[in-house]
């Protein structure tokens, strides 16, 4: 099996602090990897490293980030920019702040495509196609971000991320800010698109039940390290690491009969 993304002993520092500490994992072609961790575990930093979008002051100390076999660590910012969108694209947690409030949704999606050299007419056509793909009517593209619901914005974020047909889609807590019923639709949409288009997904979340629903493989992150990784069934049914067990155990489930939660 080929790998779409392969991270090899990546270490990232911000100032004196180590935010990613020698992590290695891979996202196999056509599979969904759930990267699970709590706030501050370094999971979002990992996503930004893959896109070459680490914040100012962050330094990659060592390691490789291989996108389809190309290491992006030694690349120039311009080379990385060209890869973004085509090789890897990302959708953010809060789609409200990720969109420019004074630009129509459609313009923002086509802007990304035009930046990658698509003609205006081609981009317009693709936009209509994309919005149907995420199950929204193309008319919605004429609206401004605040006129859309949270779920619609998240769908458009995903549409934007998919606009250049990336090999890897990174989703950073795409459902955390959404209501449960909307959350379900987004998860269903992601699974369906992934099955149809066969791209790979790096799905970042703190919620094991979401991982259970969507992922094929799981990696658990804590304080900048990967403490456990493997297939979903293995990690969720027979967690090997104490931290994984704790994270799984401390979420109440429906029909939970426990009086107290393990801490």
């Amino acid at each position: 099996m080929d790998t779409t993304l392969r991270i090899d002993s990546l270490t990232v520092d911000i100032g004196p602090g180590r935010v990613i500490d020698g992590i290695s994992f891979e996202v196999a072609e056509g599979r969904i990897l759930g990267l699970v961790g709590e706030s501050g575990s370094g999971k979002t930093m990992t996503a930004l490293a893959v896109l070459g979008l680490l914040p100012e002051g962050a330094v990659i100390r060592s390691g490789q980030v291989l996108l389809k076999g190309n290491d992006i660590v030694p690349m120039s910012p311009e080379e990385r920019r060209r890869l973004r969108g085509k090789k890897a694209a990302m959708s953010f947690q809060e789609p409200f702040t990720a969109f420019n409030p004074v630009m129509r949704i459609g313009e923002q999606v086509t802007e990304a495509m035009r930046a990658h050299g698509m003609s205006r007419a081609g981009a317009e056509k693709r936009l209509a196609e994309l919005s149907r793909m995420v199950k929204l009517s193309p008319g919605i593209c004429r609206h401004y971000p605040h006129e859309l619901s949270g779920g619609e914005r998240q769908r458009m974020m995903i549409a934007m991320a998919l606009s250049c047909g990336p090999d890897l889609l990174i989703l950073d807590e795409p459902t955390t800010a959404l209501d449960v019923s909307v959350q379900k639709h987004i998860l269903d949409l992601v699974s369906e698109l992934q099955r149809r288009k066969k791209f790979s997904v790096l799905f970042i979340t703190h919620d094991f039940s979401v991982v259970n629903k969507i992922a094929d493989d799981v990696a658990v992150m804590k304080e900048g390290r990967i403490v456990e990784k493997g297939s979903k069934d293995k990690v969720l049914k027979a967690p090997g690491h104490e931290y994984t067990r704790k994270l799984i155990g401390c979420i109440p489930r429906l029909g939970d009969t426990r009086k107290r939660l393990p801490v």
Binding site: S39, D207, S209, K213, L254, R260
Partner: protein, 243 residues
């Protein structure tokens, strides 16, 4: 009954534009009734915008009701969702905890004793906490401080508005356990508000499911989760990813 709410209503009027002074009201709370027994937890669950927080804010006295009645038999206090926003960043913890005591003319010695007691109840070390400022604590610790502040006045009723929603899951578990312990120890009555059905089931004796300002279904937690009657309740339950 510690809390009795009958046909509570709250409408918000939003100005549409300059020439149309008021549009149709947003019916945030539209005829809500429920009651909570002493020592029990009433869970109010619903999606964003359903009006659950407005109910909490009316019962806690932050907002005025438009119609209906409610009675609260006993002292009440409230814990908010975001412990980063609910503690004044410019006051030290002792100041935050003791403020309401100071206002109600409790002697300084007594106030100090009560703050120590409240911090011990939430498992924080009073000596190491009182002189510090909110930004020196983690999210979970701040939420404990917020709970301690609510306990300082020795309330009988706590209104908990999404008290664990902004916390990491492992921290969340600790706070939920703490709330259960406190309830048992002090026989507190809780109004527990959350969007998370799993958390609400874990905490509550009775559950009300809210949608568009109304309670669409209200029953014991067991019943709601084992045999939901209302279609909306079923939709919500099915949407929860399980494993």
């Amino acid at each position: 009954m510690m809390i009795e709410v009958t046909d509570l209503k709250k409408y918000f009027y939003k100005r549409k534009g300059f020439f149309s002074p008021s549009s149709d009201p947003v019916k945030a709370v539209d005829g809500v009734s429920f009651s909570v027994e002493k020592g029990s937890t009433f869970g109010l669950v619903g999606e964003s915008g359903c009006g659950k927080t407005t109910v909490a804010r009316i019962l806690s006295g932050i907002l005025e009701k438009d119609a209906g009645r409610f009675s609260i038999s006993g002292k009440r206090d409230m814990v908010f969702q975001d412990p980063f926003g609910s503690l004044n960043p410019r006051m030290h913890i002792y100041g935050i905890l003791s403020e309401s005591l100071k206002v109600s003319k409790v002697s300084p010695a007594e106030a100090r004793a009560r703050c120590v007691e409240a911090l011990e109840l939430v498992n924080l070390d009073p000596a190491g906490v009182m002189d510090k400022y909110p930004h020196q604590f983690s999210g979970g610790e701040r939420q404990r401080i917020a709970i301690a502040r609510a306990l300082v006045n020795r309330p009988e009723i706590l209104i908990l508005d999404e008290p664990v929603s902004s916390l990491d899951v492992s921290i969340q578990a600790g706070i939920l356990n703490l709330l259960k312990d406190l309830q048992e120890e002090k026989s507190l009555t809780y109004l527990f508000i959350s969007h998370d059905l799993r958390v609400v089931e874990f905490m509550s004796d009775t559950v009300g499911v809210m949608k568009n300002g109304k309670i669409v279904e209200c029953a014991s937690a067991k019943e709601i989760y084992s045999s939901p009657k209302h279609p909306y309740t079923r939709i919500l339950l099915e949407a929860v990813p399980s494993f």
